[in-house]
Amino acid sequence: MPFTIPINPIVYAAGDGGIPTTVPFAELRGRMRGYEQTIVARGGFETMRARLTTTPEEALDWLNNGLMRSVVSYGPQAETCWEGVLLGVTATFGQERRSVSLEKMANRVGCKYSTRGGSPTTSSAVSDTFSQARYGIKDGLISASGITATAAANLAAMELGRRAWPVMTPASSVRTGDVGDVSVELAFSGWYYLLDWLLTSSTSTTSTVTTTQAKALLVAYNAVNAFYSTSSQDVTASGISDEEYIAPDTSYLQKLEALLSQGNSSNERLAWGIYEDRRLVVAQWAGATPDTVAYRRVLGSGQLYDAADGPVAAWNARPDAICETADLLDIGPVANQADAAARFYVERVVCTIDESGVGLALEPQATDSADAVLARYS
């Protein structure tokens, strides 16, 4: 048996309405052929993929019953490495492949329409309560113009029928040679991205601190899909305020990002995400104090170290940190210069573990044009 992947993802049974439970369903330790996790400075736990060789019966179970099972990946020191929910399964049965995903699913659908010569409005949403009881509520919105309210309602109902359940995507090939084995790839998403599942709106023009609004969004979301912790112990107040107004048919994720992208009263960026125990974490970005180095690299070593030269396992590396390479001597970067020759701000970390070993990629901050930045504010 080649190198053993030391992570133990524990998959928990999905509860009613997609609400995560603490009932363990499976431990993947010792069974995986490959593991990859990504974490981002604006979002938190992003994606996780686990590949395992299975029996046909187990692969079928993952396809039929796996979606919305939650997962917590633990490291060998009992630390939480990643946490999320299963949104996609791909099973390979030799030359047959089946994929199922919640990406296109919508079980509460409205139609945004305008009548001939009328103003835009949205039809009452129609729901598939069986799908909602299984996965939680996920909004879908279609658009049409120049139709009646009755037609809009019909369109919404038709779209619901088409999208209320996850669609299976088959791939079948017949070829000579080795038929292949049975394997499963589980694609997990961080809980943060499920904030895009629900649409909201608000006509309030009250000015409120942006982080306070962010916390309130989570509370409101939880009233529909109780996915998140509403604890605010890791939310550092931004100190700036904005209107509570939310345009119709805006997702919770869009509004949250619009608020937190504004930064804080020190004119610094914020880093945020959904992390352990599905808690929202908001803090000033580490790039505001680039002399505070969280991670160090030495070119002759294949390891990452913390500021006190303690080795950091690849699966424990987190974004929103300054990483410095000791051997690359900077002339002396400006105090507020996050990125320099020897150091950079880590926006995203990608940890990959397979039978050949462990890899860690620390990705720098994206180069944002002013337009792209402003587009997120609107």
Binding site: P24, Q77, A78, V298, S301, G302, Q303, A308, G310
Partner: protein, 461 residues
């Protein structure tokens, strides 16, 4: 005593070596004195599993590389055999019997290969995962295709990388562990002398823990090189600050880590006289020692909010690999541990941090909640004997079983179930799951058994 090699499946044993020193033509393979099989021992010895090492660093930036992780491949080897059939039909029947028994792993439990050279006191057992047998012409004999009655057989097996023993070694037998580091029957007790080839790499343990009392528990378990109970002086504090306050600091000696690369430091703090503990978080700050030292090495992450109990709790503050003390000039390594407290929402919180346990550990983990109200024990299982010998259980498991024993509660284990390391001890600490109460006088009865592993030969070890 002749060498003794066998294939064992449940109640059936196939003898590959005749105890008289020569195979009996057409004899029954299920008895040592009548078996028609013989191992051509001058041509074979068990293969040691090659290690698969993951290396860190290397040229062109430095000379050499450091080992980071290591595990072992399964072993595929060919055992050369002689089969004396008496008649060709009997020969074919004996050959079929071998092929059948060696390939039961897929739908049953793996067959065992027993290896005991002449003069060895104890056998070693390897699990066989798959096998194939190819007959060949024996020297100076009729060809196989011509109806030979004596043939050579190449038995190619893929087996476990390490062999085990038919029984577990008892390291700790019904000992009382009290939920504190110091005093009589402490929560850290030596595993004693170990046998086996992997004593410096970790060998499986089966740990049975029977807590006294009723209610739910969460258990910390670790295999440690040492544990220190460190007193904190003037360690009472109150805060409404979300930034936190320092309760107190004391130095912990961590000199073992200078030589032992794999050891890590873990801090578990014991706090009592708490107010509003569910609004409180704790953290450890590690500070360099030395005259006038104030350099903060690292802040470990804030703990979860504490449980509701206001009398006494034990809180895991996390682990750290103190590589910085692996320097040649430091005669004894110490690190100062400062315990911090904060309120998560501005509610006033108070605590006294009386001591902390500083573990230098190899393996550490924590269970999910389990209920001890009904009679039974928590088992942390690292070894299994499904095929009849004790070999690693992959992956290791935790389970609560009744007195039978039969499983009654599923328990998950985060981290690494403790293994046996040369010179190590077992550390246990526990608290009530629903409230966080950790009573220092609570006891558990603990039995620890050990499955030594062998690469090839064992002798009497």
């Amino acid at each position: 005593m002749a060498s003794d090699y066998r294939i064992i499946v449940g109640g059936t044993t196939l003898y590959l070596s005749n105890s008289t020193g020569a195979p009996v033509a057409g004899g029954a393979a299920t008895a040592a004195a009548t078996t028609p099989w013989m191992v051509r021992l001058t041509d074979w010895t068990p293969t040691s599993a090659p290690p698969r090492t993951i290396w860190s660093g290397g040229p062109p930036f430095r000379n050499g590389a450091d080992p980071l992780y290591q595990a072992y491949e399964t072993v595929t080897e060919t055992i050369p055999l002689v089969l004396s059939g008496g008649t060709h039909d009997t020969l074919a029947a004996r050959l079929q019997q071998l092929k059948q028994l060696a390939n039961v792993a897929l739908f049953g439990v793996p067959a065992l290969l027993q290896v005991q050279p002449s003069g060895a006191t104890s056998p070693v057992y390897f699990e066989i995962y798959s096998a194939s047998a190819q007959e060949r012409n024996a020297p100076n004999a009729k060809g196989v295709g011509e109806g030979a009655i004596v043939i050579n057989v190449d038995l190619t097996i893929t087996r476990s990388p390490h062999g085990g023993s038919a029984s577990l070694a008892t390291l700790i037998n019904g000992a009382t562990f009290t939920n504190r580091v110091t005093g009589a029957n402490p929560n850290t007790q030596s595993l004693g002398a170990l046998t086996g080839d992997l004593v410096y790499e970790g060998q499986p343990l089966n740990i049975q823990i029977t807590p006294a009392g009723i209610g739910t528990r969460i258990l910390y378990a670790a295999s440690v090189a040492s544990v220190a109970s460190v007193n904190l002086t003037a360690a009472t504090g109150t805060t409404t600050s979300t930034g936190g306050i320092a309760l107190g600091a004391s130095a912990a000696t961590i000199s073992s880590v200078r030589a032992a690369r794999g050891l890590k430091l873990r801090i578990l703090v014991r706090v009592d006289t708490l107010t509003n503990p569910t609004k409180m978080q704790l953290r450890a700050r590690l500070i360099a020692t030395g005259a006038g030292a104030t350099d903060v090495l690292i802040d470990l992450p804030w703990s979860r909010a504490l449980g509701s109990n206001t009398t006494a709790q034990i809180v895991d503050l996390g682990g750290w690999a103190p590589d910085f003390v692996r320097l040649p000039i430091i005669p004894s390594a110490q690190i100062s541990v400062e315990i911090w407290m904060r309120s998560i929402d501005g509610t006033s919180v108070t605590a006294t941090a009386s001591t902390f346990d500083a573990l230098l550990y190899y393996d550490f983990g924590v269970t999910s909640s389990f209920d001890v109200s009904s009679a039974g024990s928590l088992y942390l299982l690292g070894a299994q004997n499904l095929s009849g010998a004790y070999l690693p259980l992959n992956p290791p498991r935790a389970v609560f079983m009744d007195a039978t024993p039969a499983p009654t509660q599923r328990v998950t284990f985060r981290g690494t179930i403790p293994r046996a390391w040369s010179g190590s001890s077992l550390y246990l600490a526990w608290y009530v799951a629903s409230t966080g109460l950790a009573t220092a006088t609570d006891t558990s009865s603990v039995t620890v058994t050990h499955a030594p592993l062998y690469r090839s030969l064992r002798g009497n070890n």
